[in-house]
Symmetry: C2
């Protein structure tokens, strides 16, 4: 089914270079609510500062997004430019400035090419309805190798509604948001407080549970816009309809998050790091992140080397509570270490077979408590180095 | 000059494979004091647990060290083996067990090859005096490509004394000790409290100020043994002789630390990250470490890409207090960013020239306070990935 009351547009503005879509617009035909999360980096791009402020009142009708330039570390000029592009777009759309949010991704520290950006705005607005959300997904890519999109259909009071989302990632992916943009739209009618809590919960289990290189960007932005155009009875907290909405949203966001990791710069493996038996859920996530971010662990994944010693070493410095004599580590269902020492037997050969697969799980049991958590990550390959050594050239 | 009252030995015991020195002994002919620091990883190798305990009383006569096997995550068997090797060595040397410290480096999670280790002990003790500290430096290497050694001569009360040290590093190098072993010996007579404080201070400014990949090992050990055999009047706290001793010790340890970074796995650049103007010295170090550990920054160094945006992004998530509009970043004397934005002019070209050099400094001024600190690091190259993907094979 088609999402109601939203129109999309994407054009080529040659922000960084010509030859690709790099300017996109998401527009709701009717007033809409927004839930938003932004980078926690203390260095923040102009569009992040601006959109954070505008999203606070909980309503937004449009999102203007460009790739090719992050408009970060661009000072007063960068803020003036963001305001100016936003004002021009809002003007043509007939919206108050505050109803339009802005996001940018690309190189840090260069001023926006304002002539080209401004020239793109009229065609962008004119194109509303002739592009799809897939075009938006394509326009926000930077070093991404494929567009990331996911859709689900839900039901409330006998009325179908749609949730759809796009994301871009590829590098600088680390919990608490990274150079990651994600825009989600739904035509469901839903209580504002529920929209906000559902989004926060889904972010924690998806975008805040992935890591490619441990770097955290200046531009991360995730937005969920709900316009109620499906005409369903408003979904209320505590109902089965609310539970379904939350589930569908989480499915979409987890799928987008996993797509980001799979498209991690140079990634050849998709690895789920699951920790249980931790003293707390927070400890479990801390432990999983230390493993997922360890260069020695990630290069061992790339080398298909069943080197569980690097994993236990990472657990040891993770900051999570731990007794080394209790730690258990498995690759899929192959137990590599038990009671903190090598499990022996056929583990080395069987574990190596697991690591040859493109996707596997590192399952860790700290045997301390009931805390659990999962993090999704990639390996570290020659190509990660190549891509990032060459990114600006 | 030659250090007095110490003898060294190094033999081939084929711990991991034949063809290289891998078992070493440092021995003081007379009673000696020791200052020691160990990994803060919660997962600790058997020799670390054992030596930490033995070093507590402040005296030690000998250090037994092997490469090729870390004896980490080896459980009760590993501890029994460490105790047994230590006992056998102490027995032949005629020492109480507690006067001998043990250190190991190599692969985690495999039991020591006890037959070969034990067979090496008698030749090792027999060889005392026929090997040099350079042989010890060679015997403790793992993926190191060169042996790391440094020496200084001091004077106290008209008597010359010697300080000498060796280290191994290469991978898993991260502050608060990493798979880093360092053994320092001096024939100076020195007050125990001064020995301890001088060592702690020097560790903070050297081994705890280097990072290659952010991983922290299970086996880090640094020891300073002082036997007083030079015959100088005991160096006392607060004297010019004490200041000289501290200076020389710091010179040696900083030199060893820098050698470790230069030999970082796959390193092609030696980079000093200096932060000043921070809210505190602790904040300065935190900021410098975030920059030094950022994969995006390190791959940009490898790519000789003057991408200061990645540096300011790392500062932003470092946890250090920061106002983005005040940040100044220079490559050597080329100002790349001022007031948080690109410095303009010729900075891009001039900064790129700096990054083409094998050694350069990233100087950061947060313009907030009087805090300052420095961290030494390397770039991240294809070879880092190659070495660590293949380490065990």
């Amino acid at each position: 089914m088609t999402i109601k009351g939203f129109r999309f547009s994407a054009v080529e503005a040659a922000i960084k270079k010509p030859g690709r879509l790099d300017l996109a617009l998401i527009f709701s035909d009717v007033p809409a609510q927004v839930a938003a999360v932004f980078t926690t980096n203390k260095v923040q791009a102009a569009p992040v500062m601006l959109s954070r402020d505008r999203a606070k009142n909980g309503s937004a009708r449009a999102v203007l997004v460009n790739s090719g330039n992050a408009n970060a570390c661009t000072g007063d000029q960068g803020m003036r430019d963001a305001l100016s592009c936003g004002r021009r777009t809002a003007e043509i759309l007939g919206l108050p400035d505050e109803e339009l949010l802005i996001a940018s991704t690309g190189v840090i520290g260069q001023q926006l090419p304002m002539d080209r950006f401004r020239a793109g705005i009229q065609p962008l607005v004119d194109g509303l309805g002739s592009s799809t959300l897939d075009d938006v997904a394509a326009a926000i890519m930077t070093t991404d190798t494929f567009a990331k999109i996911e859709r689900r259909t839900g039901q409330a009071g006998g009325v179908s509604y749609q949730i759809e989302g796009v994301a871009k990632g590829a590098g600088m992916i680390q919990p608490n948001m990274a150079t990651m943009l994600s825009f989600l739209v739904t035509d469901a009618a839903i209580e504002p407080a529920l929209l906000k809590s559902a989004f926060g919960e889904a972010v924690e289990g998806s975008f805040n549970a992935i890591t490619v290189d441990g770097d955290m960007s200046t531009n991360d932005t995730a937005l969920l816009i709900a316009n109620g155009a499906a005409g369903n009875p408003t979904i209320k907290t505590g109902t089965p309809e609310a539970a379904q909405f939350v589930d569908l949203l989480q499915e979409i966001m987890l799928s987008l998050a996993k797509q980001i990791v799979k498209d991690g710069e140079g990634a050849t493996k998709f690895v789920t790091v699951k920790v249980r038996g931790a003293a707390s859920n927070a400890d479990a996530k801390k432990a999983a992140l230390a493993v997922a971010n360890s260069l020695l662990v990630k290069t061992a994944f790339f080398g298909q080397d069943a080197n569980w010693g690097r994993i236990i070493a990472a657990l040891g410095y993770s900051g999570a509570q731990l007794e080394q004599g209790r730690v258990e580590i498995s690759f899929d269902d192959v137990v590599m270490a038990k009671d903190g020492i090598f499990a022996g037997g056929n583990a080395e050969a069987a574990g190596t077979e697991v690591l040859k697969k493109p996707e596997f799980t590192v399952a860790i049991d700290l045997h301390l408590g009931a805390g659990e958590g999962a993090v999704y990550t990639s390996d570290l390959s020659y190509d990660y180095v190549r891509i990032n050594a060459d990114y600006r050239t």
